[in-house]
Amino acid sequence: MRTKSCILVMATLALLLTAGNAAALEKVYGKGVSAADTVLISQVLGDPDAYVDKVVRVEGTAVAVCKHRGCWVELASDKEGETIRIKVQDGVIVFPAEIVGELVMAEGVFTANKLDLETSKKVCAYEAEQAGKDFDPESVTQCVTLYQVTGSGAVVMDKPAEEASEGEA
């Protein structure tokens, strides 16, 4: 009986030790990236209809991340002030707060959701709250089309701190 117990305990410990690797996972999220070419974010957002429902691979600095569940990350475009959102399924991929500031390559299907006015106001209110800005619902008078990449995977690219600090807007 004692031997059996020892085997049981040792098997459990072996499993737990293997699990130690989970915390030190590579910086690959979900399925990673596999598409052949990277498309410029400005190119996608400049002509969104050409990319809707197509798989795109984009690259940019992560400038914001979902604070609640890590279910989206915003990548900075090559065009100043422009961003694209990579939305992933809740819980399937979780982007950590530490990803902000890193160079990220992400892949997924580019989608367009035309929202009704009520939902447009809610989305704008949420975005204002996330950005810590004041929001007036009456300022939204037109329906918003939400473009985003429904992400299947992402990879954090290596980038030395000194090089990064040189600026990349």
């Binding site: 049981l8 305990v9 902000v100 500031g101 701190a161 600026g167």
Partner: protein, 185 residues
């Protein structure tokens, strides 16, 4: 029957010890995650506002060194981003600095991983996937064995035929009543 009960007792006792640590991981994180809408369960966050000397708006490559020089940051800079004509963001390992160039107003947002809770949630929500998926599945199997073997441990009035049976019924009734009320009434 005696041998069967003996096996149940052995399994329940041995696996019970194994399950203690994992149960604590899932139970503590479970409570925490249930209340995730009240607070950030993974990070402590703080905001601080201060001012630096305003920066003349110009090309990004000229603005970045000027802002960094004024900020005098002790931490290494990960990257910077010109969020708008009047806004520069500086990304640091523990947060973000947002500078309004024309006014010199600086918003310093910091986050810090909550010790222990972050790791418990990481395991509970299986964020890392990989080997933990197997461990979590095995743990779920262990819980099933614990539940089933536990039924046969005690005989008589306090066992399945008596109080134990009533308590077990309660354990089935709670989720059953909840799901009927929530979904079908």
């Amino acid at each position: 029957m005696k041998t069967f009960r003996k096996i149940c007792l052995w399994l329940h006792r041995e696996l019970g010890f194994v399950a203690v640590g994992l149960t604590l991981v899932y139970a503590i994180s479970g409570i925490v995650v249930n209340h995730a809408h009240h607070w950030d369960t993974n990070y402590e966050r703080s905001r601080e506002v201060f001012n630096i000397e305003p920066v003349v708006i110009g090309p990004t490559e000229e603005i970045v060194p000027a802002v960094l020089q004024r900020l005098q940051l002790a931490e290494p800079v990960k990257s910077t981003w010109r969020a708008a004509q009047d806004k520069l963001q500086v990304f640091l390992p523990d947060g973000t600095v947002t500078v309004t160039l024309s006014t010199g107003e600086v918003l310093r947002e910091r986050f810090r991983v909550r010790p222990l809770l972050f790791d418990l949630n990481f395991m509970h929500l299986n964020t890392g996937k990989g080997p933990w998926t197997g461990i979590a599945d095995a743990y779920a199997g262990v819980l099933i064995i614990l539940a089933l073997t536990g039924i046969f441990l005690v005989r008589g009035r306090k066992g399945l035929a008596g109080r134990g049976g009533v308590l077990m019924g309660l354990g089935f009734l709670l989720p059953l009543v909840y799901i009927i009320m929530e979904r079908y009434v």
